[in-house]
Amino acid sequence: MKKEISVKSFTYAMKGKRLLEKKAISAEVIKKAEDCGCIYLIRYDDKGSGFDVRNYLLSSGVKLSDKAVSP
């Protein structure tokens, strides 16, 4: 299942993508226009393993955004 997590910038989106790929989780960066301006999302494959992606990215220094986290 594809999930998305919102990050502060393109740079953090790329950093997050790299980190997920290191964990063999396929990910892509997408950009969406929201009413606050543009936001970046990392869309990744959630294999249902219970791995906490949000916490992993956060603890690895990726600045997440509270603007949007979509299922």
Binding site: K8, S9, F10, T11, Y12, C38, Y40
Partner: protein
């Protein structure tokens, strides 16, 4: 033509750098970090790859790597941005600083800052002592070059940063002459900001520079960042905080190829080659009567040698040598402080700065030309 002006910019550039710039222009790429379509995202990814490469090269994090148009811009951002947030009013610089440091601090001095200059004569221990004598609780920041662009003298930047930390002073290193040659690991050197040109010993195109930002600073340039567009202020996080406006995409991609070139050849190999040429040149020039060297061949330096020839101004000597096919730089090298210290403020010096593509034969040709010039 023999090029000995690598301290101004390295030439020639590796073919891989030229090809990378061409490839960046040919595309398909669009404005990185602006749009959500594949051409923009692909460009952004290429930029991020260079950030990663630069981060690894300097022992930093990718998000700490800020692309600037040159070292001057990086230094202005760090110096003025830190000072603005510091709430203190003293700035310490070395007596070897380039105008990229000296002019920004002079501007701040006009606005009320107190600028103190430490002496770089003597051993590393003496330099550190001279620096520490100026540190106070009211010192906002200390800015120092890693190596003089005039004499090539190296400063003990790691020790200077350690002392500054003890006093709570923000540190800014100008590594324009050393990045790509010296081992710069920000895991070891506790600097808050590292500034460098991308087009010297990093082999990138002119118009590229780097700011490794680990400390907080006010912004110097405000503009579009592609994120948080509704906010009136620049983002609080790097690199976007300091990267208002469209980036120099072809230049940055070329810089990335420069970093790859260094990793392929080996930074140490490149550095040792240039140091060998420097030593060879210095030892031979030293033997010519009437030639004054401004750093002993026995002192450690990387690739820069300043000298003068009796009976010629530096400009005259450079002009004559230029007619014989040698590209050297004369004058003050935008570093009046260093020349004031050397006693060469009125006429400057001739500067030969060597690069990876120079050879020992070229050194011998220069020495011969200087020798002939002297005997005329």
């Amino acid at each position: 033509m023999i090029y000995f002006d690598n301290a101004a910019t390295s030439y020639p550039k590796p073919l891989s750098v030229c090809n990378a710039v061409y490839g960046a222009l040919m595309g398909p790429y669009a404005n990185p970090g602006r749009s959500g379509h594949p051409l923009s995202l692909a460009a952004g990814e290429r930029i991020f790859e260079v950030r990663e490469a630069a981060a690894e090269f300097f022992g930093a994090l990718p998000e700490e790597v800020v692309f600037t148009k040159n070292a001057t811009e990086a230094l202005n951002v760090a110096i003025k941005g830190c000072y603005a947030l510091s709430g203190k009013n003293e700035i310490i610089i070395s007596d070897l600083e380039h105008n990229a440091v000296y002019r920004p601090v002079c501007k701040l001095e006009k606005g009320g800052a107190t600028v103190k200059i430490f002496n770089t004569d003597g051993s590393p221990e003496q330099i550190v002592k001279s620096f520490e004598a100026l540190c106070t609780k009211n010192t906002a920041l200390a800015v120092f070059t890693h190596a003089s662009n005039v004499t090539g003298k190296l400063l003990p930047v790691s020790k200077l940063c350690d002392v500054a930390k003890r006093y709570g002073i923000t540190t800014v290193i100008d590594a324009s002459q050393t990045a790509g040659l010296a081992d710069i690991d920000l895991g070891e050197i506790k600097a808050d900001f590292l500034c460098t040109a991308g087009h010297k010993s990093l082999f990138g195109p002119m118009g590229t520079g780097l700011l490794i930002a680990r400390g907080g600073a006010d912004t110097l340039i405000e503009g579009g960042t592609g994120v948080l567009s509704v906010e009136k202020e620049m983002p609080s996080f790097t690199p976007e905080r300091f990267e208002g406006g469209t980036l120099n995409f072809p230049g940055i991609i070329g810089l990335g190829a420069g970093l790859t070139f260094i990793l392929k050849k080996g930074r140490k190999t490149i550095s040792e080659h240039e140091q060998l040429l420097l030593k060879e040149c210095a030892l031979r020039l030293e033997k010519i009567s009437g030639v004054t060297l401004y750093l002993s061949p026995r002192d450690k330096a990387l690739n820069t040698l300043s000298f003068n020839i009796k009976g010629y101004s530096s400009g005259e000597a450079a002009a004559v040598l230029s007619k014989s096919g040698f590209c050297l730089r004369s004058g003050l090298h935008c570093a009046p402080l260093a020349h004031s210290k050397l006693g060469t403020l009125s006429g400057g010096t001739l500067r030969a700065s060597f690069g990876f593509f120079n050879t020992e034969n070229e050194i011998l040709e220069l020495v011969r030309a200087v020798s002939e010039l002297k005997s005329k």
